[in-house]
Amino acid sequence: MKVGFIGLGIMGRPMALNLLKGGSDLTVWARRPESMTPLLEAGARGAGSAAEVAAACDVVFSMVADAADVEQVALGAAGVVEGARTGLIFVDMSTIAPAAAQDIAARLADKGVTMLDAPVSGGEVGAISGALTIMVGGDEAAFARVQPLLACMGKTATLIGGPGAGQVAKACNQILTGIGVMAVAEAFNFARKSGVDAAKVREALLGGFAYSRILENHGQRMLDRNFKPGFKAWMHQKDMNIVMQEAHRLGLMLPGSAATAQLFNAMVGSGMGEEDSVAALKLLENMSGA
């Protein structure tokens, strides 16, 4: 099977490298030619456009920034659709709105291309170690065909449902991680302001019902005052915006997400956008005084 990969940023590059390591015959394209270099050096073929990638491949993956980018790559000038032969499977692993994923999938289907939305959780670390969690929406047969490829990039790949269902699962993931990070930051700020050692609090709580991966990992980074990304606050803000826009569209009440989205606004507005989400602790400290 010939495999293509479009978008070779912080996430896309290691994911594509893992496909190569898994023995895929890989063709790549990225908007900035220099980001293709590490892949070409590792043995991938370079293409001149998304259409050229599609023409050479049976399955094309993309990992780009937002819905406009996915639309451009899939349906724009020199996009996947221009090079695709009938039966091509296009797997978009970016995080975009479910409604946008459904729209792009429907327009690709008209041209004989099957799209899966397959956003990921696990960050750069998960991308490098091939341990991502992959949430998939779309056709079951197409999912079965690409499953061995997904296994090169992720620890688990779950078919959630039809088109857009992967993005719904990702939005749920961002609700849980966004509110979760804020909850840990609030608890630590509460402990600090009460004159109690937050490290001891974390240690005790890890044994109880409040245990979570976020308390363990993000909590440790907060205690270490390690605000290096990781997952940048502005990206979490962007993802929470997808959640809030969907809530508006669907008539959904999401009070916890709404509060969290406002704290991300405050982080970005006060210059913490490039730091990890765990810098939320600093924001709460600044707003609560010493």
Partner: protein, 289 residues
């Protein structure tokens, strides 16, 4: 003055009537010409396209629904920009995004056409009684040119700043107003849960520090359980999406407005989109609509 008018809704019609009554030479254009029947019968001239309306007018005033509508009216096929002479002015009194207002001001300026965003507060009653509060963004000399017209429509006309600034003030107005509606709904819900008469609570509070126009009007509607619009809640729902999107872009936290937005989302889901925003009380009662 030769004045053009677009938008014959609950706000626009009484506003257009004030201009006629003040002796202005009024022409109108309407997407559905039948909606202009009343004002034409009272002496306004009917135009076939926005461009035709613009060509005969020194000033065109519009009161429509959304950013998209204003953009289409100004720049669409046979749009105002094709008819307005250099030195003429488009005064948009709709509630739209500040960014759209700034964009239109720039496009008009390229042709020497003036622009004001002049959204209003005061509702249907304010439009009927010519007591609207008008908040204006745009050049001061442009405002001076049309101030006599605006004085026919409202009690206060405040120049806020450059293009878009009127819409910023309107966004602040919407945020305060709907947040306070939510606060009133919560107070009424609490009083109701205690089995206390809502109208007595409202009456007592109107004499004290919590008195406000919203408590007076919307609190009254809540106490009477009169949820017929007023102001259709879907319009506030729309305003809050714009408001919170801009807060996101600016990196400004609006924690209370974000919660009010969620209550409005719930109201839409419960089928209350055409009811008055006082229906936020019913979301708290969660009894369905």
């Amino acid at each position: 003055m030769r004045v053009g008018f677009v938008g014959m809704g609950v706000m626009g019609l009484p506003m257009a009537r004030h201009l006629l009554a003040a002796g202005h030479d009024l022409a109108v254009w309407a997407r559905r010409p039948a909606s202009a029947d009343a004002i034409v019968a009272e002496g306004a001239h009917l135009c076939v396209t926005p461009a035709e309306l613009a060509a005969r007018s020194e000033v065109v005033i519009s009161v429509v629904t959304a950013s998209r509508d204003v953009e289409e009216l100004a720049l669409g096929p046979d749009g105002l920009i094709e008819g307005l002479a250099s030195g003429a002015v488009h005064v948009d009194m709709s509630t739209i995004a500040p960014a759209t207002a700034r964009m239109l001001a720039t496009r008009y300026a390229e042709r020497g056409i003036g622009w004001l965003d002049a959204p209003v507060s005061g509702g249907e009653a304010g439009a009927r009684e010519a007591t609207l509060a008008i908040m204006v963004g745009g050049a001061e000399e442009t405002l001076a040119q049309v101030r006599p017209l605006l004085a026919c429509l409202g009690r206060t006309v405040v120049h806020i700043g450059p293009a878009g600034a009127g819409q910023v003030a309107k966004a602040c107005n919407q945020m305060i107003m709907v947040n306070v509606i939510q606060a009133c709904a919560e107070a009424m819900r609490l009083a109701g849960a205690h089995g206390v008469e809502l109208h007595r609570v409202r009456e007592a509070l109107m004499g004290g520090s919590a008195a406000s126009r919203v408590l007076d009007v919307m609190g009254g509607r809540m106490a009477r359980r009169d949820f017929a619009a007023g102001i259709q809640s879907r319009l506030h729902h729309k305003d809050f999406a714009i408001l919170l999107e801009e807060a996101r872009q600016l990196g400004v936290p609006l924690p209370v407005a974000a919660q009010t937005w969620q209550q409005l989302n719930a109201l839409m889901a419960l089928g209350g989109s055409l009811d008055d925003t006082a229906s936020l009380l019913r979301v708290l009662e969660a009894q369905g609509l």
